[in-house]
């Protein structure tokens, strides 16, 4: 009965059609459009590899140049909407439906296209969630991926930026899908086999090396005294308080400031070895001083970072590197590590409401959230204790049998009360709700739900939401650190002082921190150039960060 093998036969037919444009598995860059038009079918689910860093850009250009008369109504299932071509395909009708996670640089355009009805949106996923659906109900028919090099058998070296590739290939190749990889070069022998060749059907030798965005480089020269003050409070009031050893940092300036204060302020507090030893984190250049001064024991990465390759290669005790010496990152594994093995997630957001719900989605930008909702959530499947986790659990437990108490992951929002152009971070109602209403989303795109958030840190102080006992206390605790925003000025002063007396709110002076000590002199590195010095010249920053 042929119905059992229909998908397999369809796959064989696609590959047969593609062979006309290949020599063995190898396809010249100039034949990409022909190859894609031969392999794709209208309505296919397609994963076009692209996340917040690595882009299969040659294949993206090829897809956008296909004839919409032949290839149309594709369902794109991919992590990132990053390149213009990722949205061009929706304008021409090549693609119709979208499920994704992140859209950083295209955030403004994707908002307009969603409002304009040019994209049929499935959902804005977390990375892990989208990966999970690859194996259940969003399995790609065709995956278009990127690697550094391949041999003629299709053995693929993904290099340090492994990211989504293993997961996408696993789902596609083992469920009758076709996998096409673009590589920077075809070689006789790859340095390391990251993906075995029998999972790769075609290899395109790209016209230019694939694009990688340096997303995790924060220039210390741009750090403000306010960010330094917030970082001091976080280190003393949270890291030291809970003894946080295993953690994940977001990518903002606030957490970068923390990284740069560990070898100075953290050292002064005697915290080396007691906090921040094990990380799920991209190779942030701002972590170099902490690594070099012996703070950091181990780092597993989601992806890599432009310019960090040589440094990582020379620090194999810290990073996960292969026998060839280069980084092996893996987004799915690192997200899982962040979810289950870290005691704290600390990151930033654009909006926080009165209950503590947060979102990075505003009415003009739909940026998505990447992995934040996974790392920034308390995983109910966790079963291993740690001191930090148990302490947070005790603080949060109001009722119930103490013998059945479980811990809590710390989920910390570190924000300045005002963002760029004096836009308040604290709001009565998230823009995400308005967006959901306007475009008819069943689920509002909230990044981190209030019940997962344990602490909010601003320049005004720390609000410990675990210690709040009802909705009113929670609202006043949030208003109490919301500074001079309307939400902050709307506080009940007496109630806020009462919360402060109970330690629910802690001001810099309550933590023994003098705001005037928040000085740039405290930063272990004050410029990108300083970071290069700390690395012994191994860190090679991208051109746009070199100003000397």
């Amino acid at each position: 009965m042929s119905e059992w093998r229909g998908d397999r036969q369809a796959r064989d037919a696609r590959i047969e059609a593609g062979r006309a444009h290949a020599q063995g598995k190898v396809v010249p860059a100039g034949s990409v459009v022909d190859l894609l038009e031969a392999i794709l079918r209208p309505g296919d689910r397609v994963c076009l590899e692209g996340d917040n860093q690595k882009q299969a850009d040659c294949l993206a250009r090829g897809l956008s140049a296909c004839d919409p008369g032949k290839i149309h109504d594709l369902h794109m299932v991919q992590s990132g909407i990053v390149l213009p071509e990722h949205l061009d395909v929706f304008e021409t009708g090549i693609a119709k439906r979208l499920d994704y996670s992140y859209s950083g640089p295209q955030g403004g355009r994707i908002a307009k296209m969603l409002y304009g009805g040019q994209i049929e949106l499935g959902a804005v996923h977390t990375y892990l969630e989208l990966f999970a659906r690859y194996f259940v109900d969003l399995t790609p028919n065709v995956a278009l991926i990127a690697g550094v090099s391949a041999d003629r058998d299709g053995n693929l070296y993904t290099g340090p930026n492994t990211e989504d590739t293993p997961t996408v290939v696993e789902a596609t190749a083992f469920k009758n899908g076709v996998v096409i990889a673009q590589v920077n070069e075809i070689v006789d022998r790859v340095p390391r086999v990251d993906i075995p060749g029998d999972r790769i059907d075609f290899v395109v030798e790209a016209d230019t090396p694939f694009y990688v965005e340096p997303l995790f480089t924060r220039d210390p020269a741009a750090m403000t005294e306010t960010q330094i003050l917030i970082a001091m409070m976080a280190i003393k009031g949270i890291y030291a308080e809970y003894g946080i050893k295993r953690l994940n940092h977001g990518i903002g300036f606030g957490t970068a400031a923390i990284e740069l204060l560990l070898p100075t302020y953290g050292e002064k507090l005697g915290l080396r070895g007691k906090i921040a030893t094990h990380w799920a984190l991209n190779p942030h250049p701002t972590l170099i001083p902490a690594i070099e001064s012996g703070w950091v024991k181990q780092i597993h990465c989601f992806g890599s970072e432009v310019g960090m390759d040589r440094y990582i290669r020379e620090r194999p005790d810290i990073f996960f590197t292969g026998a060839d010496g280069s980084l092996r990152s893996n987004r799915a594994f690192c997200q899982t590590a962040g979810l289950y093995a870290c005691d704290m997630f600390i990151g930033a957001t654009l909006q926080i409401d009165l209950m503590g719900h947060s979102s990075t989605i505003t009415q003009s930008r739909v940026a998505g959230f990447g992995g934040a909702p996974n790392m920034g959530s308390d995983p109910h499947g966790r079963r291993h204790p740690s001191d930090a986790w148990m302490k947070a659990g005790r603080e949060g437990q109001i009722v119930g049998d103490p013998a059945l108490m479980r811990g809590r992951k710390l989920v910390v929002q570190l924000v300045e009360t005002f963002g760029d152009k004096l836009v308040p971070t604290f709001v009565e109602k998230l823009d995400a709700l308005e967006l959901a209403r306007k475009i008819g989303l069943e689920l509002a795109p909230v990044m981190i739900y209030a019940d997962d958030v344990t602490h909010i840190v601003t320049e005004e102080g720390i609000a410990n939401l675990l210690l709040c006992r009802d909705a009113d206390e929670r609202e006043q605790a949030i208003r109490g650190v919301a500074g001079y925003t309307e939400v902050g000025r709307g506080r009940d002063r007496a109630k806020v002082e009462e919360l402060r007396a109970r330690g629910v709110i802690r001001r810099p002076e309550d933590l023994g921190i003098e705001p005037l000590d928040a000085d740039r002199a405290l930063l272990a590195a004050k410029s990108i150039k300083d970071l290069v010095h700390w690395s012994g010249g191994l860190y090679e920053p991208p051109a746009r960060f070199r100003n000397w």
Binding site: T224, E225, T226, L229, E416, T417, F418, L422, E459, E460, G483, Y484, R489, P515, L516, A518
Partner: protein
Amino acid sequence: METLTFRHTTKKPLSGSVPSAITGVVASGNLEILLERVLPPDACEVAVETPIAGYGDVWAAVVADFVARAQPGGLRISINDGGARPDTVSLRLLQGARLMEA
């Protein structure tokens, strides 16, 4: 350009005897503050020149908190604002008062 002036009565004069000080920088998102010890010991006046209109209430709140915290009696404070955020204003005011006490 908006000009705002706030006058407060303080419980005491600011300690120290430095006659005047300047802190901060004229730059976008920052501010420059001139402090002068020229008023009666229980008076403080803060004059703000800001390029961003409509934040009078926020300035009033920041200045009132600063006065309550630092008790800057005797000071006339002139602020040349470059669109600084309230937290930066607050920090600079406290830095300025510290310089006058030195």
